[in-house]
């Protein structure tokens, strides 16, 4: 049947048809929907779970492959850094049943903290990487990846990018078949200690040679001769292929790569021989380009196209001298619309308090990273998941007690389980006076509401094991574990002050579920009494999207506050800021 399907859903469909039985992933844009869509198939066919982090997810998938069932795990590009350790050695052990690793890059950084190119991991780990250019290929390559994995005894990387992952295009679906293998003990293959690994490394090198032969002849890389009218020969892959086709149609010859590691050699030489001008069009780093150059061929690439940011059809056209349509412009400044914490977001009250106390806030990654944005402008550092605690420890160690009395590490519940726990272990073990605030909103918010080990529910929303944060922190040696409600500003301030003053490390759990969760009951929207409001703008300090100012000649400042009745969820944080008691709930 023909269907319009999201790239990530098409991967999930491919996994289903390939007979995958086990998926363990950690969410991360733009990879998340692969696992969410796969979880819509019956659990008896594909078991799906959210693991605490990518490393655990990949190891779980490896275990399932070892046991003889086709397995998968997905992550965003930076997630593969976390899982790099198992990946690099899985390359040596190889697999039993097929094992495919989904990784989604984010050129343009729509939702990421860096713009790394995950093809480097494929090269360094010496594993094959497939790169679909639309949903139909996503489905097809997902299935193909399992054939390659089993045939060549290797994990296979399936690389998505934002524009393939989050675009819908037409696919044709097929049937599911489930190949199974049996597990047999094989110490020489699966126990990677030096003596065994020494024998596996040459296997890896041999495998790469065989995979190059596959790249040359299997048809996964293909040449489109075109009409030869421009003399251009373009080597490209993934979404860049679509932009090239959009501009040139059949006017150029194209070597379309479906497998970007290892790269073919003879095929590229033959292609180059038939064109006047050889150009590589690839987003991010010049990986294909450097390979082509290493073959001694004359090629153009990054002198024409940028390394930074994503491509588009106009960018390709402009670089290659094709016409580009002019866009209309307005003679007026259009204010930006950056993402904001939602109305009623429990993170807001906490960051207001941290700003008020003039804390040095070492942050982390999640919705709460928006605590760095005006007017809260509170977070001063965000690096990678879990880094807040590690950094606060180092920060306090070198700057001493004075800094420790005003520095806090701030991270979410999911981030804490992902990689904050090990940082906390360091604080407990190497004894620094860190104050760690866990923003427990009972969900993984940023990536669109995934369950995690602290929520008590699994990926399907069924009851699951639940880790007790307070008990965990105590067990790790923290005597001071406090719980606060971020809607209660006075209490937040008191407890944070106390813990900063104390000469001992502490954990403060700021607990209040995400305002967007379906089960959260909201109070009716609040209103501002025009008679009482003096236009002092105190309520504007929290950056709530539901509060704005309207002109008025009644007040000295010439404005009155007003609250949007469709956005306000009655959290009452603004009420606590109003010096004249002008904000009230409906009577």
């Amino acid at each position: 049947m023909k269907e319009l399907m999201l790239g990530n859903k098409a991967v999930a469909r491919g996994l289903y048809e390939a007979g995958v039985c086990f998926i363990s992933s950690y969410p991360g844009t733009p990879s998340t929907e692969i696992t969410e869509e796969a979880a819509k198939y019956p659990e008896s066919e594909i078991y799906c779970e959210w693991a605490p982090n990518e490393k655990v997810a990949m190891e779980a998938a490896f275990g399932a492959s070892l046991a003889g069932r086709r397995a998968f795990c997905a992550q965003k590009h930076v997630g593969l850094n976390v899982a790099a350790d198992p990946l690099y050695t899985m390359s040596y052990t190889g697999v039993n049943a097929g094992l495919v690793i989904g990784v989604a890059d984010d050129a343009g950084m729509h939702s990421s903290q860096n713009e790394q190119d995950s093809r480097h991991h494929a090269i360094a780990a010496k594993v094959p990487m497939l790169e679909p250019a639309d949903s139909a290929e996503a489905l097809d390559y997902a299935k193909r990846a399992y054939e390659i994995s089993e045939e060549y005894d290797t994990p296979v990387l399936l690389k998505m990018c934002t524009r393939v992952a989050h675009s819908q295009s037409i696919v044709e679906t097929g049937e599911r078949t489930v190949p199974e293998k049996t597990y047999t003990k094989d110490i020489a293959k699966y126990v990677m200690m030096p003596g065994n690994a020494k024998k596996r490394h040459p296997f890896v090198e041999e495998r790469t040679k065989k995979l190059i032969a596959y790249a040359e002849t299997s048809g996964i890389n293909r040449i489109e001769q075109g009409d030869g009218s421009t003399g251009l020969g373009i080597i490209t892959a993934s979404t860049s292929y679509q932009y090239v086709k959009e501009i040139f149609g059949d006017r150029v010859a194209i070597l379309k790569l479906g497998m970007t590691n290892p790269l073919p050699v003879q095929m590229i030489r033959d292609f180059a021989a038939g064109v006047k001008r050889l150009i590589v069009v690839e987003e991010l780093d010049p990986i294909i380009e450097n390979h082509v150059r290493s073959l001694g061929l004359k090629v153009e690439g990054k002198e024409l196209f940028p390394i930074c940011d994503e491509f588009s059809q106009n960018l390709i056209a402009e670089a290659l001298g094709e016409p580009v349509p002019a866009g209309k412009t307005l003679d007026v400044q259009i204010p930006g619309r950056p993402p904001v914490m939602c109305a009623g977001c429990p993170h807001r009250g906490l960051f207001y308090t941290l700003k008020k106390l003039d804390c040095t806030v070492l942050g982390d990654i999640g919705c709460y990273t928006l605590g760095a944005v005006a007017p809260l402008s509170s977070i001063e550092m965000t690096l990678c998941m879990g880094a807040s605690i590690g950094a606060a420890h180092g920060f306090n160690k070198v700057l001493g007690e004075k800094a420790a009395h005003r520095t806090v590490a701030v991270l979410g519940d999911s981030t804490f389980m992902h990689s904050g726990m090990t940082g906390l272990a360091n604080v407990a073990y190497n004894q620094s006076n860190a104050t760690v605030i866990i923003l427990d909103n009972s969900i993984t918010g940023m990536t669109g509401h995934q369950q995690n080990p602290t929520t008590g529910f699994n990926l399907r929303g069924d009851p699951a094991g639940r880790i007790d944060l307070e008990a965990l922190c105590r067990a790790m040696g923290f005597e001071r574990v406090r719980v606060i409600d971020p809607y209660d500003l006075a209490d937040c301030e008191r407890v944070i002050r106390e813990e900063l003053d104390e000469d001992a490390p502490s954990v403060i759990i700021s607990r209040r579920p995400c305002a967007l969760l379906k089960h959260v009951k909201h109070k009716p929207p609040l209103t501002v009494s025009n008679d009482k409001c003096v236009g002092c703008k105190s309520c504007m300090k929290i950056g709530c999207p539901a509060i704005s100012l309207k002109p008025s000649d009644k007040t000295k400042t010439g404005v009155l506050s007003c609250i949007d009745q469709t956005l306000c969820v009655g959290c009452g944080v603004c009420t606590q800021l109003c010096p004249v008691d002008a904000i009230h709930g409906k009577e």
């Binding site: 729509h110 989050h166 037409i170 979404t239 007026v332 400044q333 204010p335 993402p339």
Partner: protein, 194 residues
């Protein structure tokens, strides 16, 4: 090729959380069933938190790029006035903007760091755009729910398409839950007649 249908481009823009997903789904469904090659591209993640969001819908005989670039959009369908203006550079020569007149202040305006520009409809027209500016919120409420703004906009958009009303109605019926169908049909008609 003489009978090749050129690729057409529709952008759906708005503020994260405004419900542009149904609009793009509906268009995708409709165009697929009309026999076109279709690509729909969305952005998930960070910008959904109240940021500026855009969805691209492209259709024709053969669609390659999943995105629409500057100067390419035949239509910009906007849930909010400022967003229509923000994406104006993407409109092609002779293109049309179908926009809700609702204004939602972005954070820089709320904090006073920037101003919400006045007279945006006139300014966009002066820049050469054809603009349908409609109070979709009022029409949606008239149809029975503020949430039906998306369908009001599509009703208006349907004006300009060579696709029979029946096909639009089928797409609605296929994608809207039965209990909200009548409401949405009304919203569609109100938009169309606006």
């Amino acid at each position: 090729m003489s009978n090749r249908r050129e690729t057409k481009n529709i952008m759906i823009v708005g503020v994260g959380g405004q419900g542009s997903l149904l609009a793009s789904k509906l268009l995708g469904y409709l165009l697929l069933h009309e026999g076109y090659d279709v690509k729909v591209s969305e952005v998930h993640g960070m910008s959904q938190r109240g940021g500026s969001v855009v969805t691209y819908v492209r259709y024709g005989d053969r669609v390659y790029s999943p995105v629409i670039d500057r100067g390419e959009a035949d239509y910009i369908v906007s849930f909010e006035l400022l967003e229509a203006a923000r994406w104006l550079p993407y409109l092609r020569e002779g293109g049309r903007i179908v926009t809700n007149t609702q204004q939602i202040d972005p954070m820089p305006v709320i904090t006073g760091a920037a101003q919400y520009p006045a007279d945006l409809v006139a300014r966009m027209q002066a820049a050469g755009a054809q603009v349908d500016a409609i109070d979709c919120l009022a029409l949606a409420e008239q149809a029975g729910s503020a949430k039906a703004v998306n369908v009001v906009l599509l009703g208006r958009l349907s004006h300009y398409f060579d696709i029979p009303d029946k096909a639009w109605q089928e797409a609605l019926a296929a994608l809207v839950p039965q209990k909200f169908l009548e409401l949405n049909q009304k919203a569609f008609t109100l938009g169309k007649e606006a």
